[in-house]
Symmetry: C2
Amino acid sequence: MEDVAKLAGVSHQTVSRVLNGNPNVSARTLEKVQGAIVELGYRRNTAARSLVTRRSNTIGVLASEMSQYGPSNTLLALQQAAREAGYFVSIAGLDDVTPETIEEAMLRFMDQGVDGIIVQVPHSGIFETLVSLNLGLPVVAIGATGENRLSGVAIDQTAGARQAVEYLISLGHQHIGHVAGPAGWVDTQARIEGWRTALAQAGLPEGPLFEGDWSAGSGFRAGQEIMRDAHVSAIFAGNDQMALGLLRAFGEAGINVPGDVSVVGFDDWLESEFFLPPLTTVRQNFQELGQRCVHILLAELDGGARGGADVEVVPELVVRGTTASPSLN
Amino acid sequence: MEDVAKLAGVSHQTVSRVLNGNPNVSARTLEKVQGAIVELGYRRNTAARSLVTRRSNTIGVLASEMSQYGPSNTLLALQQAAREAGYFVSIAGLDDVTPETIEEAMLRFMDQGVDGIIVQVPHSGIFETLVSLNLGLPVVAIGATGENRLSGVAIDQTAGARQAVEYLISLGHQHIGHVAGPAGWVDTQARIEGWRTALAQAGLPEGPLFEGDWSAGSGFRAGQEIMRDAHVSAIFAGNDQMALGLLRAFGEAGINVPGDVSVVGFDDWLESEFFLPPLTTVRQNFQELGQRCVHILLAELDGGARGGADVEVVPELVVRGTTASPSLN
DNA sequence: TACTACGTTGTTAGCGCTAACATTGGGGTG
DNA sequence: CACCCCAATGTTAGCGCTAACAACGTAGTA
């Protein structure tokens, strides 16, 4: 920086002013300084800068299940949004989710000096852990809403599930089952709730509920159980992979989809459009989710306010080929 | 830090020594200082530290296709390995891969002051870009081997593909097709090469080659083409998703797998075990890949040596239900 | 006893930057 | 013409840490 100042014939402080966009710099010096910066290929030292400003321009992202479809897409979006805002992204992936591992990761973030943290851990009950840690840093939790000591951004999965089930009802289905995700996930809970609500509002009896683990294999097994035990004309699957398993189970047994049974998934992952038949599903806008997260976090960073900001992103039903009116027999 | 020193009754420098594991500290003071650190909940300031040491303890990971199976798993492993070594991980995801976007991301990493960079961009031709940027930083590129100005770690996909095809040959197949990934990916190229080599070594004619785009949809279309035009008893698919598409195409047409056609995939993704029948595929050890990457990078950081270190991780054939000897008719 | 050597601790300077204050000079006002 | 004001720039201090050196005391040696 001293070199740049010398070359431009000004003081290092003036260079700093140029770099920080300070308005009190004459057009002439501005030009000279910028010229010198380019000529020397000068780049500001982040460590020194953050030592004095107490800002690292880094946000920490705490994630689990990083290789799953939803989380990895959210992570991608998060990272894009952060970069656009001029922030670096530091990630910590959790192998297993316990209060201890969460705390450890958070302390690491504190050590690193991140400005704020985004938590992308879809397990129930982590929010208390987050609140109890009480780091003096803005935290935005994905999936957390209604927690007033924490800001949250969520895809309104209950609404998404409700949309899906309401659509099935509108087609004339009266016996609608649900293959849920594993217990302990916020997503699982929300989707079950949406399914229940839609049925209750339509005055329909609650259909059978199966528990899967998000994998196609568990969907397949649920499909076999359904064929053996249950009497349904439509099934709402907790995600597209399990829907794929269902499709496979039914296909193998000669049950026609959507002729005999309708199936709806959740996620709209890449392959769903290529299922046979193409899967009717609920699309989540991860892009928007990520952007909202980052924007809320940045607002807290600038404004100083803490917690309580909640945003819900509404998902969208994508009707494709696995849904039809129930057959009359 | 000054506070800790005061509480322990020593100088701040002694505290620093304790923190850095300097041996020249008496047991008594060591204990006192550690006590004071715990009591005050003191944590060292990273910015100040890296200002003087010129080390940020951060490694940058440049990634593209972050939401795909391979990349996201590698990223996960990378991050774990880095954390175990006490490093932070900063990520930059590329939307589109051009020399410009790569350069921009790299400059961002330089600004951030990362100690080293791992590149996880599976496109051909990016290595020249990396070399030409000539940042004075250790760079380890995943998928790059034989580049002597750059260190590389790769899964030996050629060997994996060869294993798969050799296995088909050992079953007695003589007409073996390949559904490749999109052009421009290192992986695509390597897998094609392995397939060709195995056929050539066995003295078999080169079977038909189809180009997909990694998606199940493209595999499905390739399957339809194959049924229409080609005469093969086995197909080696460039990844598991495309293998899934093939399975679907054949299943729909009443062609039995593995009775009429054998299919082998590549990746061993989560769902492959649940395909119908379960997919024979090639498993890549992303865990090891990630660890190797980080270790090579750290070795360069400590040793000062640059480039040239190459490691190949050998994948493993997983035989499941989609392969059998060719039928005799 | 006097000297050296070394283990232990303290002191000083400076990493590269920004905040706060000090200084300069040109234009408007009475 | 003297005054003040403010925009433009320079100067100084200090963020929290580590490296380098200085100082101290104790034990071993002659």
